[in-house]
Amino acid sequence: MDWSVVAEVIKSTGFLNITLGNVVMWVIAFTFIFLAITKNYEPLLLVPIGFGIFIVNLPLTNLMHEDHLLWVFYHFTIYKWDLLPPIIFMGIGALTDFGPVLSNPKTLILGAAAQFGVYVAFFISLFLGFNLQEAACIGIIGGADGPTTIFLTAQLAPHLLGATALAAYSYMALVPIIQPPIMRFMTTEAERKIKMKQTRPVSKLERICFPLLATGIICLLIPESAPLMAMMMLGNLFKECGVVDRLSNTASNELINIVTIFLSLCIGAAMPAELFLQKESLFIFCLGLVAFAFSTFGGLVLAKTFNLFLKEKINPLIGSAGVSAVPMAARVSQVVAAKDDKRNFILMHAMGPNVAGVIGTVSAAGLFLTLLR
């Protein structure tokens, strides 16, 4: 028997090429899959992300090398054409009810204020030595909007994609843990007990005109936001016009599910050990948390400032919902309010800043692209 052939066969397997970095990434991957299956933490995202991390860290598979499977997914759907985030946004638009914003347009400003953390983290990142493009991608994590973070990072700093996307999705999932202490610290019990009047009903005409007007105004104002904004508003027009239910259902169900598979797999694939296990990733996670905390703070402060001038006070807890994790952040506002008064229902009021926050984050990303690309 020719033992050199056996040796060659053994060498051609991945087993002899496993690195410590690979093992660390497998642990991360299995943790995600474990959390998704046993704790039901964001399973639609964590299962494909975890599996993507696992397979991209299998030595010699070369899945992320040019013209190989994950490289093709990643390169053409994210890196080169940045296709998947706008399609996800069409689904988000078809799922979003902008009624709360229309019935109380002040909430649009709260959604903008909750982007405060984006700019705080941007400047801190610059101070820590990241370049302008990298700092913008780290800052945008404060919007708590995964697809927007991916959209921006793919265009400005693709080498950071794994870390920024993972941080954005992690903080979206951690909204109920991160926000309440800040909300309680920033508000008095009396403020948290403020009851708000029911919002006025919104007509069908208003609902149909909104996506058309919002697309026109925001895309003219910040043209670089058009891919995300236009697609989101297209999805919303599908939902509200009432004559294309099939398209609305496809955008908000099958299509968004299909795209989520590839987007999540690509996020995982963007995390090979040699790229992810760097001190920059740790910085990005810390700065993402700073961004997210300051965004929460910004929304609360503006809501409190409104109350200095408004005759009919608003509950400042709705301000923190301006981070765009929809509808999680609005639900957190309701939970915190109900702790002090269980008959206080601010959920639908908080949906206003919440959906406005999505528009705010997309606009911030568009601004960064205009200035930095």
Binding site: Q198, P327, A330, R331, Q334, K342, R343, F345, L347, M348
Partner: protein
């Protein structure tokens, strides 16, 4: 004197926890309203007896819609 329980926001009735004739106390949970994938318990504002329930489980309700009367 009767007390009307109105829907505080649009949503759907997830669970009804009392039936007509039940004695309830202030702050007892009467029903659960689901909105934005969140279960929101609705509590009794008074002590009394459930006189009438105007909705059933899975019904979609609008804001200020009458849900229940407590006497």
């Amino acid at each position: 004197m009767s007390e009307e329980i109105l829907a505080p926001m649009p949503g759907s009735i997830w669970q009804i926890l009392v039936k007509p004739g039940d004695q309830v106390k202030e702050d007892d949970e009467l029903l659960v309203l689901e909105a934005m994938k969140m279960e929101n318990p609705i509590f009794s504002p008074v002590d009394g007896v459930v006189k009438d329930i105007k909705v059933k489980e899975k019904d979609a309700v609008d804001v200020d819609q009458l849900l229940m009367i407590i006497e």
